[in-house]
Amino acid sequence: MRQAGKYSGFMMCGGIAGRTGPHSLPLARIKKIMKKSGEDVKMISGEAPIVFSKACELFIEELTRRSWATTLQGKRRTLHKDDVASAIVATDIFDFLVSMVSETASHSEDGTVPEEEETVGSS
Protein backbone atom coordinates (compact mmCIF):
# COMPACT_ATOMS: atom_id res chain seq x y z
CA MET A 1 0.00 0.00 0.00
CA ARG A 2 1.41 3.34 -0.92
CA GLN A 3 1.37 6.14 1.52
CA ALA A 4 0.15 9.59 0.61
CA GLY A 5 2.86 12.16 1.04
CA LYS A 6 2.46 15.11 3.33
CA TYR A 7 1.54 17.50 0.57
CA SER A 8 -0.28 15.16 -1.76
CA GLY A 9 -2.51 13.58 0.84
CA PHE A 10 -6.06 14.14 1.93
CA MET A 11 -6.09 17.87 2.47
CA MET A 12 -4.30 18.62 -0.71
CA CYS A 13 -6.42 16.68 -3.12
CA GLY A 14 -9.34 18.38 -4.72
CA GLY A 15 -7.44 21.59 -5.22
CA ILE A 16 -7.46 22.78 -1.66
CA ALA A 17 -3.79 23.42 -1.35
CA GLY A 18 -2.55 23.22 -4.92
CA ARG A 19 -1.82 26.77 -5.83
CA THR A 20 -2.36 29.12 -2.98
CA GLY A 21 -0.98 27.30 0.01
CA PRO A 22 -2.56 25.13 2.66
CA HIS A 23 -5.96 26.83 2.64
CA SER A 24 -7.96 27.96 -0.33
CA LEU A 25 -9.54 30.98 1.35
CA PRO A 26 -7.51 33.67 3.11
CA LEU A 27 -7.53 33.12 6.86
CA ALA A 28 -6.95 36.76 7.75
CA ARG A 29 -9.98 37.80 5.75
CA ILE A 30 -12.10 35.13 7.41
CA LYS A 31 -10.97 36.36 10.79
CA LYS A 32 -11.90 39.94 9.88
CA ILE A 33 -15.37 38.91 8.87
CA MET A 34 -15.77 36.88 12.04
CA LYS A 35 -14.80 39.87 14.14
CA LYS A 36 -17.29 42.07 12.38
CA SER A 37 -20.15 39.66 12.91
CA GLY A 38 -20.83 41.16 16.32
CA GLU A 39 -19.71 43.92 18.66
CA ASP A 40 -18.80 41.46 21.35
CA VAL A 41 -16.67 39.02 19.44
CA LYS A 42 -13.53 38.98 21.49
CA MET A 43 -10.97 36.37 20.69
CA ILE A 44 -10.80 33.79 17.98
CA SER A 45 -8.69 30.69 18.20
CA GLY A 46 -6.24 30.00 15.43
CA GLU A 47 -8.12 26.96 14.28
CA ALA A 48 -11.53 28.55 13.85
CA PRO A 49 -10.68 30.34 10.58
CA ILE A 50 -9.20 27.11 9.31
CA VAL A 51 -12.46 25.29 9.91
CA PHE A 52 -14.24 28.13 8.16
CA SER A 53 -11.96 28.06 5.14
CA LYS A 54 -13.05 24.50 4.47
CA ALA A 55 -16.65 25.16 5.52
CA CYS A 56 -16.97 28.09 3.13
CA GLU A 57 -15.64 25.92 0.38
CA LEU A 58 -18.32 23.32 1.12
CA PHE A 59 -20.88 26.08 1.32
CA ILE A 60 -19.94 27.55 -2.04
CA GLU A 61 -19.95 24.09 -3.57
CA GLU A 62 -23.42 23.31 -2.25
CA LEU A 63 -24.88 26.66 -3.24
CA THR A 64 -23.34 26.38 -6.69
CA ARG A 65 -24.61 22.84 -7.16
CA ARG A 66 -28.14 23.79 -6.23
CA SER A 67 -28.09 26.96 -8.29
CA TRP A 68 -26.82 25.10 -11.31
CA ALA A 69 -29.69 22.64 -10.99
CA THR A 70 -32.07 25.57 -11.44
CA THR A 71 -30.06 26.79 -14.41
CA LEU A 72 -30.36 23.39 -16.04
CA GLN A 73 -34.09 23.36 -15.42
CA GLY A 74 -34.31 26.54 -17.42
CA LYS A 75 -32.20 24.88 -20.11
CA ARG A 76 -29.60 27.58 -19.84
CA ARG A 77 -25.83 27.51 -19.56
CA THR A 78 -25.26 30.69 -17.64
CA LEU A 79 -25.72 30.67 -13.91
CA HIS A 80 -27.63 33.79 -12.95
CA LYS A 81 -28.36 35.48 -9.70
CA ASP A 82 -31.98 34.32 -9.96
CA ASP A 83 -30.77 30.75 -9.94
CA VAL A 84 -28.90 31.43 -6.74
CA ALA A 85 -32.02 33.03 -5.29
CA SER A 86 -34.10 29.99 -6.21
CA ALA A 87 -31.61 27.66 -4.59
CA ILE A 88 -31.65 29.74 -1.42
CA VAL A 89 -35.43 29.80 -1.23
CA ALA A 90 -35.67 26.08 -1.85
CA THR A 91 -33.20 25.09 0.87
CA ASP A 92 -34.16 25.30 4.52
CA ILE A 93 -30.71 25.83 5.89
CA PHE A 94 -30.21 28.76 3.55
CA ASP A 95 -33.11 30.64 5.10
CA PHE A 96 -30.72 33.15 6.63
CA LEU A 97 -29.80 34.23 3.11
CA VAL A 98 -33.33 34.91 1.91
CA SER A 99 -33.27 38.53 2.93
CA MET A 100 -30.12 39.07 0.93
CA VAL A 101 -31.51 37.94 -2.37
CA SER A 102 -35.02 39.26 -1.89
CA GLU A 103 -33.72 42.73 -1.00
CA THR A 104 -32.02 43.26 -4.28
CA ALA A 105 -34.76 41.51 -6.18
CA SER A 106 -37.34 43.86 -4.67
CA HIS A 107 -35.29 46.93 -5.39
CA SER A 108 -34.93 46.01 -8.99
CA GLU A 109 -38.61 45.13 -9.40
CA ASP A 110 -40.71 47.64 -7.54
CA GLY A 111 -38.51 49.26 -4.95
CA THR A 112 -40.63 48.26 -1.99
CA VAL A 113 -39.07 47.53 1.35
CA PRO A 114 -38.57 43.80 1.66
CA GLU A 115 -40.11 41.90 4.54
CA GLU A 116 -38.53 39.26 6.69
CA GLU A 117 -40.72 36.45 5.30
CA GLU A 118 -39.69 35.10 1.99
CA THR A 119 -41.55 37.12 -0.58
CA VAL A 120 -39.21 36.45 -3.43
CA GLY A 121 -40.97 36.73 -6.76
CA SER A 122 -39.73 33.44 -8.08
CA SER A 123 -41.28 30.70 -6.03
Binding site: M1, R2, Q3, A4, K6, G9, F10, M11, C13, G14, G15, T20, P22, S24, L25, P26, R29, I30, I33, M34, K36, S37, G38, D40, V41, K42, M43, I44, S45, E47, A48, I50, V51, F52, K54, A55, C56, L58, F59, I60, E61, L63, T64, W68, T71, R77, T78, L79, H80, K81, D83, V84, I88, D92, I93, F96, L97, M100, V101, T104
Partner: protein, 254 residues
Protein backbone atom coordinates in the same frame (compact mmCIF):
# COMPACT_ATOMS: atom_id res chain seq x y z
CA UNK B 1 6.07 72.45 -2.31
CA UNK B 2 9.81 72.69 -2.00
CA UNK B 3 11.51 70.33 0.32
CA UNK B 4 8.67 69.47 2.61
CA UNK B 5 8.35 65.94 3.85
CA UNK B 6 5.89 63.59 2.18
CA UNK B 7 3.77 63.90 5.29
CA UNK B 8 3.37 67.64 4.76
CA UNK B 9 2.39 67.13 1.16
CA UNK B 10 -0.24 64.64 2.08
CA UNK B 11 -1.68 66.83 4.77
CA UNK B 12 -1.74 69.80 2.40
CA UNK B 13 -3.72 67.81 -0.09
CA UNK B 14 -5.91 66.43 2.65
CA UNK B 15 -6.98 69.87 3.75
CA UNK B 16 -8.33 70.54 0.32
CA UNK B 17 -10.34 67.37 0.16
CA UNK B 18 -11.22 66.92 3.78
CA UNK B 19 -14.71 65.60 3.14
CA UNK B 20 -13.50 62.56 1.29
CA UNK B 21 -13.79 59.61 3.63
CA UNK B 22 -10.74 58.15 2.05
CA UNK B 23 -8.72 61.16 3.07
CA UNK B 24 -10.35 61.23 6.45
CA UNK B 25 -9.22 57.69 6.82
CA UNK B 26 -5.73 58.82 6.08
CA UNK B 27 -5.97 61.62 8.59
CA UNK B 28 -7.23 59.48 11.40
CA UNK B 29 -4.57 56.87 10.90
CA UNK B 30 -2.03 57.37 13.62
CA UNK B 31 0.33 55.23 11.61
CA UNK B 32 0.65 57.79 8.83
CA UNK B 33 4.39 58.40 9.33
CA UNK B 34 4.89 54.70 8.83
CA UNK B 35 3.31 54.74 5.38
CA UNK B 36 5.88 53.97 2.81
CA UNK B 37 6.73 56.79 0.49
CA UNK B 38 5.66 54.68 -2.45
CA UNK B 39 2.29 54.14 -0.84
CA UNK B 40 1.83 57.82 -0.09
CA UNK B 41 2.71 58.69 -3.66
CA UNK B 42 0.23 56.16 -4.90
CA UNK B 43 -2.51 57.63 -2.76
CA UNK B 44 -1.64 61.15 -3.85
CA UNK B 45 -2.00 60.00 -7.42
CA UNK B 46 -5.38 58.55 -6.62
CA UNK B 47 -6.52 61.73 -4.88
CA UNK B 48 -5.46 63.87 -7.81
CA UNK B 49 -7.13 61.57 -10.23
CA UNK B 50 -10.41 61.13 -8.48
CA UNK B 51 -10.76 64.38 -6.58
CA UNK B 52 -13.86 65.40 -8.43
CA UNK B 53 -15.51 62.06 -8.76
CA UNK B 54 -18.17 60.96 -6.36
CA UNK B 55 -16.79 57.53 -5.70
CA UNK B 56 -13.33 56.25 -5.26
CA UNK B 57 -13.54 52.97 -7.02
CA UNK B 58 -9.91 52.01 -7.02
CA UNK B 59 -9.52 48.60 -5.44
CA UNK B 60 -13.23 48.62 -4.72
CA UNK B 61 -13.34 50.98 -1.77
CA UNK B 62 -17.03 50.62 -1.19
CA UNK B 63 -17.68 53.19 1.49
CA UNK B 64 -16.31 56.19 -0.37
CA UNK B 65 -19.66 57.79 -0.99
CA UNK B 66 -20.80 57.76 2.61
CA UNK B 67 -20.41 60.73 4.87
CA UNK B 68 -19.23 58.71 7.80
CA UNK B 69 -16.02 59.67 9.45
CA UNK B 70 -15.47 56.18 10.76
CA UNK B 71 -12.83 53.89 9.43
CA UNK B 72 -13.62 52.76 5.94
CA UNK B 73 -14.83 49.23 5.48
CA UNK B 74 -13.22 48.32 2.24
CA UNK B 75 -15.15 45.96 0.07
CA UNK B 76 -12.19 43.67 -0.15
CA UNK B 77 -12.27 43.31 3.62
CA UNK B 78 -15.92 42.35 3.79
CA UNK B 79 -15.86 39.53 1.30
CA UNK B 80 -13.82 36.58 0.23
CA UNK B 81 -11.70 37.31 -2.83
CA UNK B 82 -13.90 36.77 -5.83
CA UNK B 83 -11.22 34.82 -7.68
CA UNK B 84 -11.19 32.21 -4.94
CA UNK B 85 -14.97 32.01 -4.94
CA UNK B 86 -15.04 31.54 -8.70
CA UNK B 87 -12.38 28.88 -8.55
CA UNK B 88 -14.40 26.85 -6.08
CA UNK B 89 -17.54 27.27 -8.17
CA UNK B 90 -15.75 26.06 -11.27
CA UNK B 91 -14.83 22.86 -9.53
CA UNK B 92 -18.53 22.03 -9.42
CA UNK B 93 -19.69 23.36 -12.74
CA UNK B 94 -19.17 21.68 -16.09
CA UNK B 95 -16.48 23.26 -18.26
CA UNK B 96 -18.90 24.95 -20.63
CA UNK B 97 -20.87 26.64 -17.86
CA UNK B 98 -20.85 30.41 -17.60
CA UNK B 99 -21.39 32.43 -14.48
CA UNK B 100 -22.97 35.85 -14.56
CA UNK B 101 -21.23 38.62 -12.65
CA UNK B 102 -24.15 39.23 -10.37
CA UNK B 103 -24.24 35.55 -9.47
CA UNK B 104 -20.56 35.68 -8.55
CA UNK B 105 -21.09 38.71 -6.37
CA UNK B 106 -24.17 37.26 -4.76
CA UNK B 107 -22.36 34.11 -3.76
CA UNK B 108 -19.45 36.18 -2.54
CA UNK B 109 -21.85 38.09 -0.28
CA UNK B 110 -23.54 34.90 0.84
CA UNK B 111 -20.24 33.47 2.03
CA UNK B 112 -19.65 36.45 4.28
CA UNK B 113 -23.18 36.19 5.56
CA UNK B 114 -22.59 32.52 6.29
CA UNK B 115 -19.46 33.27 8.29
CA UNK B 116 -21.26 35.96 10.28
CA UNK B 117 -24.26 33.75 10.87
CA UNK B 118 -22.25 30.84 12.23
CA UNK B 119 -19.88 33.05 14.20
CA UNK B 120 -22.79 34.81 15.86
CA UNK B 121 -24.17 31.54 17.13
CA UNK B 122 -20.75 30.29 18.21
CA UNK B 123 -20.10 33.53 20.02
CA UNK B 124 -23.38 33.31 21.89
CA UNK B 125 -22.41 29.89 23.12
CA UNK B 126 -19.05 31.20 24.29
CA UNK B 127 -20.73 33.98 26.19
CA UNK B 128 -23.20 31.62 27.80
CA UNK B 129 -20.33 29.50 28.98
CA UNK B 130 -18.33 32.57 29.91
CA UNK B 131 -15.46 31.86 27.62
CA UNK B 132 -13.67 34.54 25.68
CA UNK B 133 -12.28 32.63 22.76
CA UNK B 134 -14.26 31.15 19.92
CA UNK B 135 -12.74 27.78 19.21
CA UNK B 136 -12.96 25.43 16.26
CA UNK B 137 -15.23 23.27 18.33
CA UNK B 138 -17.62 26.19 18.89
CA UNK B 139 -17.75 26.77 15.16
CA UNK B 140 -18.53 23.12 14.51
CA UNK B 141 -21.18 23.10 17.20
CA UNK B 142 -22.83 26.18 15.74
CA UNK B 143 -22.85 24.66 12.28
CA UNK B 144 -24.49 21.55 13.56
CA UNK B 145 -27.07 23.56 15.45
CA UNK B 146 -27.92 25.69 12.45
CA UNK B 147 -28.51 22.73 10.20
CA UNK B 148 -25.19 22.22 8.47
CA UNK B 149 -24.82 18.69 9.80
CA UNK B 150 -23.50 17.41 6.51
CA UNK B 151 -20.45 19.57 6.88
CA UNK B 152 -19.46 18.32 10.30
CA UNK B 153 -17.82 15.10 9.20
CA UNK B 154 -15.63 16.43 6.41
CA UNK B 155 -14.72 19.40 8.59
CA UNK B 156 -13.78 17.23 11.52
CA UNK B 157 -11.61 15.15 9.25
CA UNK B 158 -10.03 18.27 7.80
CA UNK B 159 -9.26 19.54 11.27
CA UNK B 160 -7.78 16.21 12.32
CA UNK B 161 -5.52 16.19 9.31
CA UNK B 162 -4.51 19.80 9.86
CA UNK B 163 -3.59 19.11 13.45
CA UNK B 164 -1.69 16.08 12.37
CA UNK B 165 0.37 18.16 9.99
CA UNK B 166 0.86 20.87 12.56
CA UNK B 167 2.02 18.33 15.05
CA UNK B 168 4.39 17.09 12.40
CA UNK B 169 6.40 20.23 12.12
CA UNK B 170 9.30 20.33 14.50
CA UNK B 171 7.82 18.33 17.32
CA UNK B 172 8.14 14.88 18.76
CA UNK B 173 5.22 13.79 16.63
CA UNK B 174 7.47 14.08 13.62
CA UNK B 175 9.72 11.42 15.04
CA UNK B 176 6.80 9.13 15.71
CA UNK B 177 5.49 9.55 12.20
CA UNK B 178 8.87 9.24 10.58
CA UNK B 179 9.46 5.94 12.28
CA UNK B 180 6.14 4.60 11.12
CA UNK B 181 6.39 6.09 7.67
CA UNK B 182 9.21 3.78 6.76
CA UNK B 183 6.67 1.02 6.49
CA UNK B 184 3.13 1.23 5.24
CA UNK B 185 0.91 2.88 7.79
CA UNK B 186 -2.47 1.31 8.25
CA UNK B 187 -5.48 3.44 8.92
CA UNK B 188 -5.65 2.20 12.47
CA UNK B 189 -2.14 3.34 13.22
CA UNK B 190 -2.80 6.66 11.55
CA UNK B 191 -5.79 7.27 13.75
CA UNK B 192 -3.95 6.18 16.84
CA UNK B 193 -1.34 8.78 16.04
CA UNK B 194 -4.03 11.34 15.45
CA UNK B 195 -5.64 10.45 18.74
CA UNK B 196 -2.28 10.81 20.42
CA UNK B 197 -1.82 14.26 19.05
CA UNK B 198 -5.25 15.21 20.34
CA UNK B 199 -4.37 14.48 23.91
CA UNK B 200 -2.15 17.50 24.06
CA UNK B 201 -4.72 19.98 22.83
CA UNK B 202 -6.97 22.22 24.82
CA UNK B 203 -9.84 20.42 26.50
CA UNK B 204 -12.90 20.06 24.38
CA UNK B 205 -16.46 19.90 25.48
CA UNK B 206 -17.22 16.26 25.17
CA UNK B 207 -20.83 16.81 24.36
CA UNK B 208 -19.84 18.92 21.42
CA UNK B 209 -16.91 18.11 19.24
CA UNK B 210 -16.13 14.76 20.72
CA UNK B 211 -19.74 14.07 21.47
CA UNK B 212 -19.89 13.45 17.79
CA UNK B 213 -17.30 10.76 18.29
CA UNK B 214 -19.41 9.26 21.09
CA UNK B 215 -16.52 8.79 23.42
CA UNK B 216 -16.10 10.72 26.60
CA UNK B 217 -12.59 9.77 27.54
CA UNK B 218 -9.72 10.94 25.44
CA UNK B 219 -6.57 9.11 26.28
CA UNK B 220 -3.99 7.57 24.04
CA UNK B 221 -5.13 4.03 24.57
CA UNK B 222 -8.87 4.34 24.92
CA UNK B 223 -9.44 6.88 22.21
CA UNK B 224 -7.27 5.13 19.72
CA UNK B 225 -9.72 2.34 19.12
CA UNK B 226 -13.00 4.23 19.15
CA UNK B 227 -11.48 7.11 17.22
CA UNK B 228 -10.27 4.80 14.53
CA UNK B 229 -13.67 3.13 14.30
CA UNK B 230 -15.47 6.42 13.99
CA UNK B 231 -12.91 7.92 11.70
CA UNK B 232 -13.05 4.90 9.46
CA UNK B 233 -16.77 5.36 9.12
CA UNK B 234 -16.23 9.00 8.43
CA UNK B 235 -13.50 8.24 5.97
CA UNK B 236 -15.77 5.86 4.13
CA UNK B 237 -18.33 8.59 3.83
CA UNK B 238 -15.72 11.13 2.92
CA UNK B 239 -14.51 8.84 0.20
CA UNK B 240 -17.96 8.91 -1.27
CA UNK B 241 -18.53 12.62 -0.92
CA UNK B 242 -15.20 13.92 -1.98
CA UNK B 243 -12.85 12.74 -4.59
CA UNK B 244 -9.86 13.03 -2.32
CA UNK B 245 -7.76 9.93 -2.46
CA UNK B 246 -7.15 8.58 0.99
CA UNK B 247 -4.58 5.95 0.40
CA UNK B 248 -4.30 5.37 4.12
CA UNK B 249 -8.01 4.84 4.43
CA UNK B 250 -8.44 2.73 1.36
CA UNK B 251 -6.68 -0.12 2.99
CA UNK B 252 -9.38 -0.54 5.60
CA UNK B 253 -12.37 0.43 3.56
CA UNK B 254 -11.96 -1.57 0.42
Amino acid sequence: MGHKSPLDSVIALCCRAVKRPFITGLLVQPALPRLKLSEINMRLAEINHTKNSAAITNNGAAAATTDENECIVREQDRFMPIANVIRIMRKILPPHAKISDDAKETIQECVSEYISFITGEANERCQREQRKTITAEDVLWAMSKLGFDDYIEPLTLYLHRFREMEGDRGSMRAETLMKTSSRAMTAAEYHAAAAGSFAGFAPFHHHGFFGYLKDASISNGAAGTSLSQQANAVAAMANGDHQASHSQYDDNNK
